[in-house]
C-alpha cells in the first residue's frame, strides 16, 4: 500500500541583521581572512544581536514560510523544531514559537539531530502525514551558535565556520505552487564517534562544573571537532547515503538536477561532488560564502534559496545530503512539482 504523499509546500528564512566578515574575526581568531575563505568557502556570516533568540529567529522564519505557502498559523497542526541551541534547558523552544504565533494548542516537539535536523524533521513530518496524525507540519530549523563560540586562536578553525539563522519548511499532505514532493529520507547513526564532534557540557555525563573551571573543563563547554575524522566520515557516509537513497528509488546520480547539502564547508561540498562523480557543481546549491555554516538551519536556508532561484523545473530531482554530530548522516530525495 502506498503511503499518502507529503510535500514541502512553503519555505521561509530569517537571518540576524549583523554581518560578521572574515576581516572582523581575523585578529581574534589568529587567522588570515583569505585563509578562512580558502579553508571553508566562507567570507561572512550573520551573528545574532542581543534579542535575536533561537525562538525569535524560528518564529520569523515560520511566518515567512506560512506566507510562502499561503497559510496562517491556525492551519498548522504539528510543530517540529530542530536546534542545538535552545532558548532554555527546559522546556523546548517549540512552545515559545507556538506562543509567539498564537497557534492552536498543537503538539510541539523539539528534536536534536544537530546538522541533520532538516532530514530528521522532514522524516518525522512525512511520517506524521502518512499516518494521518497531521496534515500540516511546520518544521522549524534554527541555531544561534555565536554566543557560545570561543573567539580566541585556540578555537579559530572551528569558530570561523558558524553563522546564526533559521529556516522553516512547511510540510503538507497536499501540493502548493512550486512544492517539492518528499520521496524518501534515509538516515543512519554510528554513536562510536560521539566525542569527535559536539559539546560535552552541560549534561549529565560530564555534569556542570561548579566554581573555577580547569583547562579541560573549559574545553568541555566549547564546540569540539576532530577535523580529520569528521572530513573522512562525512565525505564517505554522505556519498554512500546519496547512492543508497537513489538506488532504493531506482534513480541514478545522473538523474538528479539539484543537490542541496547541509552547508558545512565548501571543501567538503567539493569532496562530496567528486565522490558522486559529478561532472559539474552547477547544480550544487551553496550559501556558505555569505551565511557560513548555520548548522540546523543550513539545509533549509539552501532549499529556500533554490526555490527562489526560479530555476527548478517540474520533475527535477533534488538530493539532500547531510552529516552531523553523533555521527549521524543521511540523504533525502525530493521531486519538484508543477508550478
Amino acid at each position: 500500500m502506498n503511503s499518502p504523499p507529503a510535500f514541502i509546500a512553503g519555505t521561509g528564512v530569517s537571518l540576524p541583521a549583523n554581518i560578521v566578515t572574515n576581516e572582523d574575526l581575523s585578529e581574534r581568531l589568529g587567522l588570515d581572512p583569505e585563509k578562512i575563505y580558502r579553508a571553508s568557502g566562507i567570507r561572512e556570516r550573520r551573528w545574532a544581536a542581543k534579542g535575536d533568540s533561537t525562538g525569535n529567529l524560528a518564529s520569523a522564519a515560520l511566518r515567512a514560510a506560512l506566507k510562502d505557502a499561503s497559510l496562517n498559523p491556525k492551519d498548522v497542526d504539528y510543530l517540529v523544531l530542530g536546534t542545538m541551541t535552545p532558548d532554555r534547558m527546559i522546556p523546548g523552544t517549540a512552545p515559545a514559537v507556538q506562543q509567539a504565533l498564537a497557534m492552536r494548542e498543537i503538539p510541539c516537539l523539539d528534536i536534536r539531530g544537530a546538522c541533520c535536523n532538516a532530514l530528521y524533521g522532514l522524516q518525522v513530518a512525512q511520517a506524521l502525514i502518512a499516518s494521518g496524525i497531521a496534515h500540516c507540519v511546520a518544521v522549524c530549523l534554527v541555531d544561534v551558535q555565536s554566543p557560545w563560540l570561543d573567539l580566541s586562536a585556540r578555537s579559530g578553525t572551528i569558530s570561523m565556520l558558524f553563522g546564526d539563522g533559521a529556516a522553516t519548511l512547511m510540510v503538507m499532505g497536499e501540493k502548493r505552487p512550486n512544492s517539492l514532493e518528499i520521496l524518501d529520507i534515509l538516515l543512519a547513526t554510528d554513536g562510536s564517534y560521539v566525542d569527535d564532534l559536539g559539546i560535552r557540557r552541560p549534561g549529565t555525563e560530564f555534569g556542570a562544573a561548579a566554581g573555577p573551571l580547569s583547562e579541560a573543563e573549559v574545553f568541555d563547554y566549547l564546540p569540539r571537532m576532530a577535523g580529520q575524522s569528521v572530513i573522512l566520515q562525512a565525505s564517505r557516509r554522505m556519498a554512500a547515503a546519496c547512492q543508497n537513497v537513489l538506488a532504493r528509488n531506482g534513480k541514478t546520480i545522473q538523474e538528479v538536477r539539484w543537490i542541496v547539502p547541509h552547508q558545512a564547508n565548501a571543501n567538503l561540498l567539493s569532496q562530496l561532488a567528486r565522490m558522486l562523480s559529478l561532472t559539474s557543481t552547477e547544480g550544487v546549491i551553496s550559501v556558505l560564502e555569505h551565511m557560513g555554516n548555520t548548522s540546523s538551519a543550513s539545509m533549509g536556508i539552501a532549499l529556500d534559496t533554490l526555490r527562489r532561484l526560479g530555476a527548478p523545473k517540474t520533475g527535477d530531482y533534488v538530493l539532500l545530503p547531510a552529516f552531523a554530530a553523533g555521527f549521524t548522516w543521511g540523504a533525502g530525495l525530493c521531486r519538484v512539482c508543477e508550478p
Binding site: Q228, I231, L232, N267, M275
Partner: protein, 83 residues
Amino acid sequence: MRLMGLPPRVRQLLTDSARGKTVDSIDSTADLFEAGVIDSFSLVDLISAIELECGIKIPDADVIPDRFKNVAKIEQYINEHPQ
C-alpha cells in the same frame, strides 16, 4: 619516498597531492600529513583510489587517518586486505 610498492593510481594520487614537494625524498615511515603531502580531503581520495585499484571495500571503521599516515602503513593495509 618509496612509492613503487603502491598501485599506480595510488602512487599518482600521492605524487599529485604533494603539489611540488619532493615526495621521493620522504621516508616510507614519514608522516604524510606532517610532510604536507596529504590532507584530510586528499586522504578521502586516496582511500577511494585504494578501494578502486585494489578491488577492496574498506570498512568505515577502518577509515582512520592513522592507518594511512605513511607509505609503509598504506602498503601494509593493502597487503593485509587482498582482493
